[in-house]
Symmetry: C2
Subunit: 321 residues, 2 copies
């Protein structure tokens, strides 16, 4: 991160016609953009949304309210502009990239085998890295994958421990019975593979999915390209967790757009030490919460760049009382 | 409120390509717009920001970090486009109305006399009513007035009781000593006038200020004009409280844009039973938190109107599991 760029943002913020610090997290966002774009002033003219899609063998365990074919149907919907993420990306002025990952070859059911081979996991990770446009102002990663909250919950259990049921939520909207079944499935899955899971990337390969590995790759690529990342909800934050296990500093360029209704998300954010910008009871994924966070970032930057200073406006600045 | 319009919004939300309810408060916002605009679909093409400014005799007690002249200087800054609210209003696409209210005649110091006569209070209330454009999609009321957090805290103490210190905050940024002094001032002020304060409008006249009375008038006028109101922070919510005391239903057309850092705001919202949309550590006023809330509302409506239905997109809808 570029501390000088962040300091330049803070310095101007202290001169603008408002009490120091009174724009709260909007000021934090601008300094974050400057620090991780490595320039002052930062820009928000080319945000990118990247939606990764993958299919999951674990879906055969009946843990989703939707059949697996919906992943592919939603990819078509993304391509035609009909999904929530299309509308929010348009509102932000973001370019949207859709990356379907071998949807006809779901990753294996982790109850029976590792979800991916090393080659498969690496291919998905690399697809995520390649999807990031080098001229982006901010990256909003998102996902679609029937069954992927179960996969994400298993990853949390494997990497962070704790009662399985506390990592499980209703995903796209399942009953309390299915919720119990999800907890049992992730316990069994983690138990089966415990010996093989050494680090975050192992867990990603064994319990994850292509879209989760791809998001991890995209988050890493953004860091290398000096692009700040606005994280989305539970699945996206689990991709970030896999990187975090390899090096806690690896998420320093990330903010979290929102806290999801999926209960594991708040637990996970507490572990990562990240405070979400929004809390709007969303549980859709696709990158929707990330894009809403980026919409705030755009407004924050406009404020920062467009406001007058005390000197320009002829306004008396305050004195300590 | 138009329940049929709100029902129409909910009905379409159930057909869009997402799990039911998964857009959380974005869905709530769209139904609220429909209900209080009294039409389906609702619109967000003409939002209005109204910034009211007034001066306070209580400022002579030294409870602000800024001299009183800053109110007028900031009005010029609003008129020239240099304040935070100008930038955020431009980001939203809102028309901004600035209403300075007899700045050369501050309301009286409530430690010595009622802040306003009945005629003065009524004139300010009416100025607020007149400022609302009848074709607005949503109204974002805001304020500027050196000393007005002290006035707002006194109103809360008079109308809701409780320890004075819990209604006081640092306003534009004062020391702990001044914070204690604010608590003592509002206790004395409320004690002095206790016999005269019968209802919310009495309290507004005796302890309030012209910009607070004007915001109350604007909130009421918006209701009569079928314009939903996005409330801002502490001062704005206190204006709403004065109406609420006369009839709890009088705020049914209001959402709250954000929770301010001013600690009394959260207490007040709990009393009003209103949940803020955002929590970004803002403490600026001017309507900034309201406009950020309206930016979310615009994004929510775009989603609602632009998304494809399951039938249009050929996506399987879910089944209960």
């Amino acid at each position: 991160g570029d501390a000088r760029a962040a300091d330049a943002a803070a310095a101007r913020d202290g001169m603008l016609t408002k009490p120091p610090g009174s724009l709260g997290r909007l000021e934090e966002i601008v300094a974050w953009l400057a620090r991780w774009q490595g320039r002052y002033p930062p820009v928000m003219d080319q945000p990118q949304t990247c939606v990764f899609a993958g299919n999951h063998g674990i879906a055969e365990a009946g843990i989703s309210a939707y059949p697996q074919v919906v992943t592919e149907q939603m990819v078509l919907n993304f391509e035609r502009g009909g999904a929530a993420i299309n509308q929010l990306s348009a509102e932000l002025g973001a370019r949207m990239t859709v990356v379907p990952l071998e949807l006809d070859r779901p990753v294996r059911n982790f109850l029976h085998a590792p979800a991916m081979t090393e080659a498969e996991s690496l291919a998905a990770f690399n697809a995520g890295m390649r999807a990031v446009r080098p001229d982006g102002s901010v990256l909003c990663p998102g996902e679609m994958g029937i069954g992927n909250t179960t996969s994400a919950s298993a990853l949390c259990l494997a990497l962070l421990g704790g009662p399985a049921v506390e990592w499980c939520g209703r995903g796209s909207g399942v009953s309390s019975d299915v919720l119990q079944r999800k907890a049992q499935i992730i316990s069994e899955g983690v138990e089966r593979h415990r010996e093989s899971i050494g680090d975050g990337l192992d867990a990603l390969r064994i319990l994850g999915g292509r879209e989760i590995a791809a998001m991890a790759g995209a988050i890493l690529a953004a860091r290398l390209l000096a692009i700040p990342v606005m994280l989305d909800g539970f699945i996206c934050s689990v991709a970030a967790l896999a990187l975090h296990c390899s090096g806690p500093d690896s998420l320093a360029h990330c903010m979290v757009g929102h806290a999801s209704m999926e209960p594991g998300h708040r637990r996970l954010l507490a572990h990562l030490g990240l405070r979400p910008l929004l809390d709007l009871d969303l549980r859709l994924g696709e990158g929707t919460g990330a894009v809403l966070g980026a919409i705030l970032a755009k407004a924050a930057l406009r404020c920062h760049l467009g406001m007058a200073t005390f000197a320009e406006a002829g306004v008396d600045s305050g004195t300590a009382v």
